[in-house]
Point group: C2
Chain length 260, copies 2
């Protein structure tokens, strides 16, 4: 793949450059390059060149190309059919990590997010672990929401939220199907959001979640914990989100000196 | 689980509250609560209470508790053995997304990161897709690195990097086994880092990557693209990183008004 000049002594340098590496490793590297180009929208009408052309373009063997496309198919990024070739399955949307934003807000311009409200209930007593995260006593109660969020006819994420009683009461009667909870909080409580702490995990989808999200059981998904605070620092919303990783990318610009 | 008061009309409210929901959904919710508590270090010596106690503490059925623990075991977060109980497998380290930092720098205080240098080679011609990402001509060449990064005797991530020729030349002869590339760039080139664009994917590990990272084939991993720029905005380093998701959490604080 590359003309290679040997590096400093004492390191493991493959004799013949990249092309001498195991095929599986070359396939992984090629899959990474293709994933980056696919999600950057580099292939006209989402149609990839055929294996022969990809092989030539990337200086890789046909076998490595086939393996790389197989990895991307297993990720749900492309589909492959004889006579049709390799096509991008569904656009992969960028979800920014640069600022706090709801899903519909983040995806403005990509289409309308529709929320299938599976649970919207007032709870008189919060589960203890949730109350602790909300920094209230369980007896303060709250509102429990579960929404399956759709875009362009496919599920994007499954969001479980617990809101404090006051904020929840203002939000639960509103248009939960069509609006972000963040926007509803700000519009209906007079509490502007301030910040959220998030923790992003990647996990295999359990069978139930996979069925709801319409992905294969065991597919990789993001599992995101998010605790959102209004101005002044009061926690009002704790969420657990399962996000389809074949449809969403988390994007950020990180600065060396810290957030700017 | 909760005393439930019915919410506004026209929404799907389960009659008996959370406990009437399918067991798989209750297990997922409980797994989320437990994951959050485990990664917050809430269980003394990484040992979880037995099923009976967890059932009482979380107001969940024994079956839901067992299913939740099974999900966390499948994630690699806990191990379960008869007579021993449920113990946390390995600490899950937080990798901050609030600022640009190398892995060793991020994990200061968690132990020393050791880098197994699998590839360190000067390439006379960059792959075209990499050159484009580095915003140079392929004939400018560069340095190709692949490092398997270890902490506490276990692999954490597999990092493939391409550096521009000048920055790569300064770095390739240095202590790649013991140091972050970011620190080496700053120390040996006089180019302070400025920022990086990152894209985070979650994918199932292919068999080869899984073997290198010592995880089951198909386990969920983070696949991260990162392009790092030095002061003035010049791109010097493009990376493709596979990160064990059972050992690392990506954490950030997001602000409503954007990065602050």
């Amino acid at each position: 793949m590359n003309r290679t000049v040997s590096a400093t002594a004492g390191r493991r340098v493959p004799a013949g450059g990249v092309s001498s590496r195991p095929r599986a490793e070359r396939a992984r590297q090629l899959a990474d390059v293709l994933r980056q180009q696919i999600t950057a929208g580099r292939f006209d009408q989402g149609r990839l060149p055929d294996e022969r052309r990809l092989s030539r373009r990337f200086g890789a063997s046909r076998n490595a190309v086939r393996d790389a496309l197989g990895l991307l198919r297993d990720e749900g990024l492309v589909s492959r059919q004889p006579g049709v070739g390799t096509v991008v399955s569904t656009p992969k949307y960028g979800h920014g990590l640069d600022r706090l934003a709801g899903l519909a807000e983040t995806l403005t311009g990509c289409g309308n997010v529709f929320n299938e409200v599976r649970v919207a209930e007032t709870v008189a007593e919060l589960p203890a672990a949730i109350a602790e995260r909300l920094e209230v006593h369980p007896s303060a109660g709250g509102v429990h929401l579960e929404r399956l969020r759709w875009l362009a006819g496919l599920p994007l994420s499954l969001d479980t939220s617990y809101l404090t009683a006051d904020v929840g009461a203002a939000v639960v009667a509103e248009d939960l199907a069509g609006r972000d909870v963040f926007a509803l909080i700000e519009e209906h409580t007079g509490c502007p959001l301030e910040r959220a702490e998030i923790a992003v995990h990647a996990v295999a989808a359990d069978a139930n979640t996979a069925a709801l999200l319409q992905i294969p059981s065991g597919a990789a998904v993001f599992a995101i914990e998010r605790r959102t605070r209004v101005r002044g620092g009061r926690a009002v919303d704790v969420e657990s989100i399962r996000m389809r990783a074949d449809r969403l990318i988390l994007r950020a610009t990180l600065h060396r000196g810290g957030a700017k």
